[in-house]
């Protein structure tokens, strides 16, 4: 065990755990684990002077002693025969995993990413061959984090040229614990990936997650972060567009309660010309919950005719709830087609509330309708209707469930 004051690491974990995790891994994986562990040990916790960490200071936090949990990730793959969904450590797919593992999210980026690279378990490879369009979503269900345990989920998605796939990454547990997840997504030329993260970790969990997608020419990506569970979530959600013609949407829906803290860092990185990005992050915060969204839109030199937008809207449902939405624009290109941003935080609009109340709807129901509508307006961007409903259901559990709703088609049919 090291005793670096700034890099105390997570109490309870040792290099013995790396050896245990390596037992079922091929040698090349064991090697990356050992290297990553050394990186983990040598790295300090992030400096709170660093803008991305200013509002979630890990150096002031006490990390409880945790032992690795046996994480199990169930992948529902039966209906997608053409897609490879495999254990990341499986020798059958070693070639492709070796080529891409750790190349999009590097172990050296920060301490808990290194820790994930050393101790990941239940890792999944999702490999979609060229031209294959998966019509049904691939659903990953992570469970098995015991109260007070530590879990290190890892997902590698490779969507080859002109393929498409939709992935739901749903995590849940009860109680506390520590989680550090890494998701790497490679979207090939002309391919489309949708990735939906549903964070339903137990209410004591410290949840750290890095998701990064890298988009090929004319590729398309839709990402969603649904923040429901955990005590603390620090999520980095980056999309890189090095090639021309790529387009992306990043969506966020978070419902905070109690003393939950959510801290999102996003990146829309335009390198290729004619790249398009749009970010819509929304939160509703009750009790003493808090949220930080620090989102960078970077339009690099050469990303001509790029279009970018970022919007963060936060509903404060209690006077003690706090939101700090921080949009950052870094524009180096001369010829940008469109670039916009907006950020708000405040209570439910009086005029909207009065409008509903004046129609006989009691105040509590009216507030609930406004919160549902607030989220529905982001969630409608999810192309798949079933998924839309699933996400809305999951988020609105925090509001005490959904109001009875009906569509016009239902009315016409019923």
């Amino acid at each position: 065990m090291t005793s670096n004051v700034l890099a105390p690491g997570l109490p309870g974990l040792t290099d013995g755990d790396v050896e245990t995790a390596s037992k079922s891994s091929p040698e090349w994986v064991a090697e990356t684990r050992r290297n990553a562990w050394r990186t983990y040990e040598s790295m300090e916790l992030p400096d709170p002077g660093d803008e991305e960490w200013r509002r979630t200071n890990l150096r002031e936090m006490t990390f409880p002693s945790a032992r690795p949990s046996q994480l199990s990730v169930a992948a529902d793959s039966s209906r997608n025969d053409a897609i490879v969904i495999a254990d990341l450590a499986s020798s059958d797919h070693a070639d492709v995993v070796k080529r891409y593992f750790g190349k999009t999210v590097h172990a050296e980026e920060w301490k808990f990413v290194a820790l994930n690279a050393a101790l990941w378990s239940g890792g999944k490879l999702i490999h979609v061959p060229a031209g294959v369009e998966a019509d049904l979503p691939v659903s990953l269900l992570a469970s098995g984090l015991t109260d007070g345990g530590a879990a290190f989920p890892r997902v590698l998605v490779i969507a080859e040229r002109n393929s498409s796939v939709r992935i739901v990454d749903d995590s849940s547990s009860v109680g506390g614990g520590f989680v550090s997840s890494v998701v790497e997504i490679i979207v090939g030329e002309g391919a489309k990936v949708e990735y939906y993260d549903i964070n339903r970790w137990g209410d004591g969990v410290l949840n750290f997650k890095t998701v990064r997608a890298i988009l090929g020419r004319d590729a398309e990506f839709v990402g969603l972060a649904a923040g429901i569970g955990s005590k603390l979530t620090k999520m980095r959600f980056d999309v890189e567009m090095p090639e021309p013609g790529a387009r992306m949407q990043l969506l966020g829906v978070t419902f905070g309660s109690g003393k939950q803290h959510f801290d999102y860092n996003t990146l829309q990185n335009h390198v290729g010309h004619h790249t398009i990005s749009d970010l819509q992050f929304k939160s509703a915060l009750t009790d003493e919950s808090s949220l930080v969204w620090y989102g960078i839109t970077r339009i690099n030199h050469g990303a001509t005719a790029a279009e970018a937008n970022q919007t963060s809207r936060n509903l404060l449902l209690s006077e003690h709830a706090k939101a700090a939405p921080i949009p950052i624009l870094e524009i180096e290109a001369y010829d940008v087609a469109k670039c916009s941003h907006g950020a708000t935080a405040g209570p439910v609009e009086d005029t909207e509330l009065f409008y509903l109340e004046s129609r006989g709807i009691p105040k509590d129901v009216a507030e609930h309708m406004l919160v549902e509508g607030f989220f529905a307006d982001v969630i409608r961007r999810i192309p798949d209707e079933k998924l839309r409903e699933q996400v809305l259901d999951a988020v609105l559990v925090k509001a005490g469930g959904r109001l009875e709703s009906i569509t016009w088609d239902d009315v016409l049919a019923g």
Partner: protein
């Protein structure tokens, strides 16, 4: 004798500490249409919002009885459940909430019981048709991206569906071209029943060519300064507000320059 629906006595209302209504009296019976006319800043919208219980409009005196019951202590939703309805001058948009869900919630809330889908459908389809509104309207978000005319029609649609006893129409004619005005007015006329009392708030006489009031009141500086029959509106159209304001002892310029309320 007609059944008394709304009785306002000595109503005074302040907005952000500023007194806007200064002792207003008005009685409306079932089956009657009352037009409240007045220059900008006379307190027309304040009257509408205060009657419906908007928290920003602070009642500082007087009383209001609806169907014989004192309502000033009631929240807006309860007033609506008792049969009051306000058609807004500027209806707000509510992104993410569809018209169909909103209308169903409102109908259930006002009736205080479940509404069978079949009945809801028939009522909605009939009212949409009456107001010449496309069915797809129901799929849209509440007032989101609606044109001025669509918003006003949506207000009248709600009047039809919620079936109140008292309808307060706050400048339902403003911002409408003549065709839209005619459609809206025809809609209101078709929805008017012997049980309904209407308070028609307007700046212009032209609406009264389509919706015929039995009573016309002139509101000025937060008080009704003159009441009469339909001929009063015609007189206003011919002469403007100045003569009647002068008769009351006011300064005509003030009336024109008065701030919006």
């Amino acid at each position: 004798m007609a059944e008394e629906l709304l009785k306002i006595r000595g109503l005074t209302v302040a907005v952000e500490g500023k007194q806007i209504l200064n002792g207003l009296d008005l009685t409306v019976n079932r089956g009657e249409v009352h037009a409240i006319m007045g220059p900008n800043g006379s307190g027309k919208s304040t009257l509408a919002n205060a009657l419906m219980g908007h928290p920003r409009y602070q009642v500082t005196g007087g009383d209001v009885k609806f169907k014989g019951e004192e309502i000033l202590g009631l929240t807006p939703d309860v007033r609506a459940q008792k049969g009051m309805f306000l058609a807004f001058q500027y209806p707000t948009s509510i992104p993410g909430v569809t018209m169909v869900n909103f209308l169903r919630q409102a109908m259930k809330a006002v009736r205080q019981e479940d509404v069978p889908v079949r009945e809801f459908r028939e009522k909605l389809l009939a009212t949409l048709k009456l107001l010449k509104i496309d069915e797809d309207f129901a799929r849209r978000y509440v007032n989101e991206g609606f044109s001025g005319g669509e918003k006003k029609r949506a207000e009248v649609l709600q009047l039809g569906i919620l079936d109140p006893d008292l309808a307060i129409m706050d400048e339902t004619d403003s911002g409408l071209d003549i065709d839209a005005l005619r459609t809206v007015a025809e809609g209101v006329n078709a929805l008017t029943t012997p049980k309904l009392g209407v308070v028609l708030i307007t700046h212009y006489q032209r609406l009264l060519n389509y919706i015929k009031p039995q009573f016309v009141h002139i509101l000025y500086k937060g008080r009704i300064i003159e009441s009469g029959g339909p001929e009063l509106a015609l007189q206003l159209e011919a002469e403007g507000y100045d003569p009647v304001i002068a008769k009351y002892g006011g300064t005509p310029e003030l009336a024109v320059a008065g701030e919006k309320a």
